[in-house]
C-alpha cells in the first residue's frame, strides 16, 4: 500500500514537472534568424592558410590525406623553381568530410585549419568538392607565427644552406684543418 502511494506520488511529481515546463520560455535558438557566434576552435569548413610571408603554407606532404578517416583529401605535390614543395592541386570533398579535425592535427606546417564557418550546403554535390583556389585564404588562421621553410633546412628562396633557424654555416669539405 505504501509503495502504491509512493508510486502515485512519483507519477504525480513527474506529471507536475512536465506541466510546469509548459510555462517556461523555450531555449531554442532560431538558427537562420539568430546566428550564434561560434568559438574560434569550432571544427567546420577547412581552409588552407598562408605563412607570414604570404606564401602558401601547404607543402603537400600528404599527412592530412593519410590521416583522414574518410579519405576526402587528395592532392599532388610538386616543386617550385626555388625548390619549395607545394601542392599543384589540392582537393577536399566536403560531401565526404566529417570535420573530425585530424588533418589539422597532422599538419606539420599549420597550413590546413578548420574554421567555424559551417554553412557550406549545396544542391549540386560536385560543388562540395573544393579545389585549392576555393580552400586558400589570405591570412594565417589561428597560427600567426609559424613559417615552416624558415626552420626546415631545405634550400628555398627564403633561406639557403646554413641560413635557417639554428643552423651552422655549411661544412667546408675541402679543408685540411682539423
Amino acid at each position: 500500500m505504501k509503495s502504491l502511494v509512493e508510486a502515485a506520488k512519483a507519477l504525480a511529481e513527474g506529471f507536475a514537472t512536465t506541466f510546469n515546463h509548459l510555462f517556461r520560455r523555450p531555449v531554442t535558438e532560431e538558427y537562420p534568424e539568430v546566428h550564434r557566434v561560434l568559438p574560434a576552435r569550432t571544427r567546420a569548413r577547412i581552409v588552407l592558410t598562408l605563412d607570414p610571408d604570404g606564401e602558401e603554407r601547404c607543402v603537400a606532404c600528404y599527412l592530412c590525406s593519410a590521416v583522414c578517416p574518410v579519405s576526402c583529401i587528395s592532392m599532388q605535390s610538386a616543386e617550385k623553381e626555388d625548390g619549395r614543395r607545394y601542392a599543384s592541386w589540392f582537393r577536399i570533398n566536403f560531401a565526404r568530410c566529417i570535420y573530425c579535425g585530424l588533418c589539422e592535427e597532422a599538419c606539420p606546417t599549420s597550413a590546413i585549419q578548420l574554421t567555424p564557418y559551417f554553412e557550406t550546403c549545396e544542391r549540386d554535390i560536385l560543388r562540395l568538392v573544393y579545389e585549392k583556389e576555393d580552400l586558400l585564404v589570405q591570412h594565417q588562421g589561428k597560427d600567426k607565427e609559424y613559417n615552416f621553410y624558415k626552420v626546415a633546412g631545405v634550400v628555398t628562396r627564403l633561406a639557403g644552406k646554413g641560413e635557417h633557424a639554428r643552423e651552422e654555416k655549411p661544412v667546408n669539405v675541402k679543408t685540411n684543418l682539423p
Binding site: A66, E131, G153, R166, P170, V173
Partner: protein, 837 residues
C-alpha cells in the same frame, strides 16, 4: 650449428650468421642503419646494440658484428641496451633537419621508424645543426646531405659492392660528407640503388620526386623486362600512373639490387602519346569494331589467297601468354608459323641457346656470384645485361678470375682480363680453352705453352696479350666452380655450341660448371621455346610479301621498323601489304603504318609471364588497371571535375586477349582460346610445360629447365632452311660492323624514358686506335660511313683495348644504323671517311 637464445627463444643458425640475422629469423627486427644483408656489417651506426647476458661474449655489443655462437643468451630489450639505443638515436638526430614533410623518404624512412622505435620523441638539443652543401648528382638521384646519419651504406654499395669510385666519403670527424669530388652525374649505372639502401632521405629518386608517398602507392611484385635477366622489381603506381620501380629481393636472380635501366626505364607506360584507342583506315573506333574489321579482311585474304597468305610476327618483349596465343591462332587458322626476331641468324642463335641449356648447365645470377672463375664470350655485361656485371663483380670480390673475350671495348667495374678475340675466331678460342681444360683434367700434364700459343693463334691475338691468358688458364684449371657466359647479340651462330662445349668440358672432374646465355629481350627464352621449324625467317617473310604470296601481317607488340637493319626495304615491303594489323602499347612507327591498330596493355596493367635467360618462368603482377594518368587527364591541374563510371583510356587489353578475340571472331570456339586459361594455353603450345599446369606460382618463379634431353625444348630438329650463316669474313681489307646495345639509349622500351634520355650519351662509333691511325682518324672526328642503304654519320672514339678490324656502333635512335642493309656487315675501308671539315 650454433644454438643461441634471443629474447628467451632458442634458435639454431648456420655458422657465421650474425646475431642480428639470427634475431631476424625469429622475427625480431633489431634496429639498424648501417647493416644491410646485401652489403654486410661494418658496425658504424651503433644502433643494433643488444645485451649479451650469457655465453662467450658478454655485455653490450653490436649484434651485427658478433657471430652467433653456442650458448649465447641475448636480450634485445635489456634495459641497458634500450637506453643505449635511445641515446644513439638521439645523437644521430642531433643534426637531422626538420624537413620530413618535404622529404620524399618520409613514409618509407628507416630513420623515422627507428627514431620512433628508439623512443626519441622530443628534441632536447637546442644548439645549432651542422649543414652541408648538396651536390648535383645527375638526373636520376637527388642529394640532400643534411639528412645524413653517416652509416656508410652508400659508399659501401657504390664502391665496394658495385665497384665505381666517383662517390664516396670525404672529410673527417663531425664533417664526414658523402658525395663526389665535384658536382656531376654519377657514373654508375646502378646508382638508383642508393635510393633504396639509404636509410634516410640523402639520396632520393629524382624522376619521381614529390610524386607520391609510399602509403599512397599501389605496390605489386613485378619483373623487369628491359633485358633478359628478369630482375625482380616492385612496381609502384598512383593515379593511374607508374611512378617508381624499386628492387625486390630475389635470392636467385638479382639479389637486393637492380640497374638504372630497370629502375628508370618504365615511363613508356605513362607516355602522353601512348595509343589508347583502336584505329582502322576509317579512323578511331572501338576495339570490337577494329577486331571485326581485321577479321573480315583476314577472312577475305585467306579465302582468296589461302591461309598461308597470312603471317604473324611477335617479339621477345611479348609475354609468354601472348606468344603462345599467337602461335595457337596461327596453328588453328593454318596461317604461317609466327616469327619473333627480325634477324634470322639471331632467331637461330636464341633457339640454339634454349636447346643447349639444361638444368645441369644453366646457372642463375646468384650462381655467377659464387663462381670462382668466369669466362665471358661475346658479351658486354654492363651494356647488354647490366646486373650481370654486378654478379660478376661479386664473383671477383670472392676471388674469382674473370676473362672476357670480345672484340668490343669492354668496361666492367672490376679488374678482368680482356681478350679482344674477333667474333670470327671466338669459337676456336673457346675450343682452345676447352681443350686446355680437358687436358688438365686428364692429368696428363699440361703442355700449356703449346696450347696457349694455339689459342693465341686461333684468337688472332697479338703476342703482347699472351701473359694474361696464361695466368687465367691456371686459374681456370684450379677452379672448382667455373661459369661460362655467352652473348647472343653479336656472336656467330657456332659460338653458342662452342661455349656449351667449353662448359661441358669444364664439368669433367668438377661438381659444377655453369653456362649462361645473355638473350636478346625479356622473353627471348619463351620465343626460343615456341619457335620451331617451319618459320621461314624474317627476310624470307619479306620476300614473300614482296612477291605477293603473303598479303596480311599481324604484328603483336613488336616494332620491326625499330629492330630491322634495312629500313627502306622494310618500309616499302610493309607498304605492299593488303592488311597490316598491329597490336602494341607503344606509339611505334610500325603501329603508325597499320591498317588496323589495336592498343594493348603493358605488363604493369595486366599480369603476365616472362621467361628469363636461365629459363625461369616469372610472373609480373598487374600494378594498376590502366587508363590515362590523372596528371595527363587533368592537364597538369586538378583532375577533371566529373563523375563517370568508366576509367578514361581503359580501352587497351592484353595482347593475348585481343588475339583471342580475333580468333573468336574468325570462328575458333572460345574454349580453345581464353577458355583454356593461361596455364593450359602455355601447356598446349609448349608441351614440355604441361607438367606445370595447376602449379601454385612460387614467388621466386619456376625454373622450367629439365634435366633430360635438352633437344626436347625445341620442337623437332633444328631447322636450317637454306639461309647460310654469312659470318665468313670476305677476302680483302674490311671492317666488320658490330651493332651493339648500350646501357641507356638503345633498348626499345627504356629508350623512351625521359629521365634516361637525359643521362644517355650521344652515340659514337668505336674502332681500335691502330685502325684509326692507319685511316688517319683521331678521337672525336666526325666520320661518314657510306653504304648501299645510305650514309651513317657518327663521332669516332678510339680505344686500345678492343679488336682490330671492327667498327662498333650502338643501336642508338640518334644514329642512322638502319641504313645498314644486312647483318653481319662488312665494309671496305674506303667507304669510311672523315666528314669534310
Amino acid at each position: 650449428m650454433p644454438r643461441l637464445i634471443i629474447d628467451e627463444r632458442e634458435i639454431e643458425v648456420p655458422p657465421g650468421t650474425k646475431v642480428i640475422d639470427a634475431a631476424e629469423r625469429l622475427g625480431i627486427l633489431i634496429p639498424r642503419f648501417c647493416y644491410h644483408e646485401g652489403l654486410g656489417a661494418v658496425g658504424a651506426c651503433r644502433m643494433c646494440a643488444v645485451q649479451f647476458v650469457e655465453g662467450p661474449v658478454k655485455g653490450l655489443q653490436m649484434s651485427c658484428m658478433v657471430d652467433a655462437q653456442d650458448g649465447m643468451v641475448v636480450s634485445t630489450s635489456h634495459e641497458e641496451a634500450v637506453e643505449f639505443r635511445r641515446f644513439i638515436i638521439e645523437c644521430l638526430m642531433l643534426n637531422h633537419p626538420h624537413d620530413c614533410p618535404v622529404c620524399d623518404e618520409g613514409g618509407q624512412c628507416l630513420l623515422q621508424d627507428e627514431t620512433v622505435s628508439g623512443g626519441h620523441g622530443l628534441r632536447r638539443y637546442q644548439g645549432k645543426k651542422r649543414t652541408y652543401r648538396d651536390q648535383y648528382l645527375g638526373e636520376l638521384i637527388a642529394h640532400e646531405m643534411n639528412r645524413c646519419i653517416h652509416c656508410y651504406r652508400c659508399s659501401r654499395f657504390y664502391q665496394e659492392f658495385s665497384g665505381y669510385r666517383d662517390l664516396g666519403p670525404l672529410q673527417i670527424a663531425n664533417r664526414v660528407f658523402y658525395g663526389r669530388f665535384k658536382d656531376g652525374p654519377l657514373e654508375s649505372p646502378f646508382s638508383g640503388n642508393l635510393v633504396d639502401i639509404c636509410p634516410t632521405g640523402v639520396y632520393t629518386d629524382k624522376p619521381s620526386r614529390y610524386k607520391a608517398r609510399r602509403w599512397d602507392l599501389q605496390r605489386t611484385p613485378s619483373v623487369c623486362i628491359h633485358c633478359s635477366l628478369g630482375c625482380n622489381t616492385v612496381a609502384n603506381a598512383r593515379y593511374r600512373e607508374v611512378v617508381r620501380v624499386e628492387a625486390r629481393f630475389s635470392g636467385e636472380v638479382n639479389g637486393h639490387f637492380i640497374c638504372d635501366r630497370g629502375r628508370f626505364g618504365f615511363p613508356y607506360t605513362n607516355l602522353p602519346g601512348r595509343p589508347r584507342t583502336a584505329r582502322t583506315a576509317g579512323g578511331e573506333c572501338s576495339q570490337g569494331e577494329a577486331v571485326a574489321a581485321a577479321a573480315e579482311k583476314l577472312r577475305e585474304i585467306s579465302s582468296t589467297f589461302g591461309p598461308q597468305a597470312v603471317a604473324c610476327f611477335g617479339s621477345s618483349r611479348n609475354s609468354l601468354e601472348t606468344q603462345c596465343m599467337l602461335k595457337r591462332i596461327c596453328r588453328l587458322q593454318g596461317w604461317q608459323v609466327p616469327g619473333f626476331f627480325v634477324d634470322p641468324a639471331l632467331e637461330r642463335r636464341v633457339r640454339a641457346a634454349v636447346s643447349l641449356l639444361d638444368a645441369s648447365a644453366g646457372v642463375s645470377m646468384r650462381e655467377v656470384e659464387r663462381a670462382d672463375c668466369v669466362v665471358a664470350a661475346g658479351v658486354d655485361p654492363v651494356n647488354e645485361a647490366p646486373m650481370l656485371a654486378l654478379a660478376m663483380r661479386q664473383a671477383f670480390r670472392r676471388g674469382a678470375e674473370i676473362l672476357v673475350a670480345d672484340p668490343r671495348p669492354i668496361f666492367l667495374p672490376f679488374p678482368f682480363i680482356h681478350v679482344p678475340v674477333s667474333m670470327e675466331r671466338m669459337d676456336s678460342f673457346l675450343e682452345g680453352l676447352a681443350r686446355l681444360a680437358g687436358e688438365s683434367s686428364d692429368g696428363t700434364g699440361v703442355r700449356e705453352a703449346d696450347l696457349l700459343s694455339q689459342i693465341v693463334q686461333n684468337g688472332g691475338l697479338a703476342s703482347s696479350d699472351l701473359p694474361l691468358p696464361v695466368s687465367f688458364c691456371r686459374a681456370l684449371f684450379g677452379s672448382q666452380n667455373p661459369v661460362v657466359l655467352c652473348g647472343t647479340e653479336c656472336v656467330r651462330e657456332s659460338t653458342l655450341p662452342a661455349a656449351a662445349a667449353l662448359a661441358r668440358d669444364l664439368r669433367k672432374g668438377r661438381d659444377r660448371a655453369g653456362l649462361l646465355y645473355v638473350l636478346p629481350g625479356a622473353n627471348a627464352f619463351g620465343a626460343g621455346l615456341l619457335n620451331s621449324q617451319g618459320h621461314p625467317g624474317f627476310s624470307r617473310l619479306l620476300e614473300s610479301v614482296e612477291s605477293g604470296s603473303v598479303r596480311a601481317l599481324i604484328v603483336t607488340e613488336s616494332d620491326p621498323l625499330n629492330d630491322f637493319c634495312h629500313r627502306d626495304r622494310l618500309l616499302g615491303t610493309l607498304g605492299k601489304l593488303d592488311l597490316l594489323v598491329v597490336m602494341d602499347f607503344l606509339d611505334s612507327e610500325t603501329a603508325r603504318m597499320a591498317h588496323v591498330f589495336l592498343p594493348t596493355t603493358t605488363h604493369f596493367e595486366s599480369g603476365s609471364c616472362f621467361v628469363n635467360h636461365e629459363g625461369r618462368l616469372q610472373y609480373a603482377e598487374a600494378v594498376h588497371h590502366g587508363g590515362i594518368p590523372i596528371e595527363q587527364a587533368g592537364g597538369g591541374s586538378h583532375p577533371p571535375r566529373v563523375y563517370r563510371g568508366d576509367i578514361p583510356g581503359e580501352g587497351p587489353k592484353a595482347a593475348w586477349v585481343i588475339l583471342a578475340e580475333l580468333g573468336r571472331t574468325l570462328g575458333i570456339p572460345d574454349r580453345d582460346l581464353l577458355g583454356l586459361g593461361p596455364w593450359s594455353l602455355i601447356g598446349e603450345e609448349i608441351p614440355s610445360l604441361k607438367r606445370l599446369e595447376g602449379t601454385v606460382f612460387p614467388p621466386e618463379g619456376i625454373r622450367i629447365l629439365s634435366d633430360g634431353d635438352p633437344v626436347q625444348w625445341v620442337q623437332g630438329p633444328e631447322a636450317r632452311d637454306g639461309e647460310d650463316d654469312r659470318g665468313a669474313v670476305p677476302p680483302g681489307d674490311f671492317f666488320e660492323i658490330l651493332l651493339t646495345h648500350w646501357t641507356f639509349g638503345t633498348e626499345e622500351l627504356s629508350s623512351r624514358s625521359g629521365p634516361l634520355q637525359k643521362v644517355e650519351k650521344e652515340p659514337y662509333g668505336m674502332m681500335h686506335s691502330d685502325d684509326a691511325r692507319v685511316l688517319g682518324f683521331s678521337e672525336g672526328d666526325r666520320i661518314v660511313l657510306s653504304l648501299e642503304g645510305g650514309q651513317i654519320r657518327f663521332r669516332l672514339s678510339v680505344a686500345d683495348r678492343m679488336g682490330r678490324g671492327v667498327l662498333v656502333l650502338p643501336r642508338h635512335r640518334k644514329l642512322a644504323w638502319r641504313n645498314i642493309p644486312e647483318m653481319p656487315c662488312f665494309v671496305p675501308r674506303d667507304r669510311i671517311r672523315r666528314e669534310d671539315s
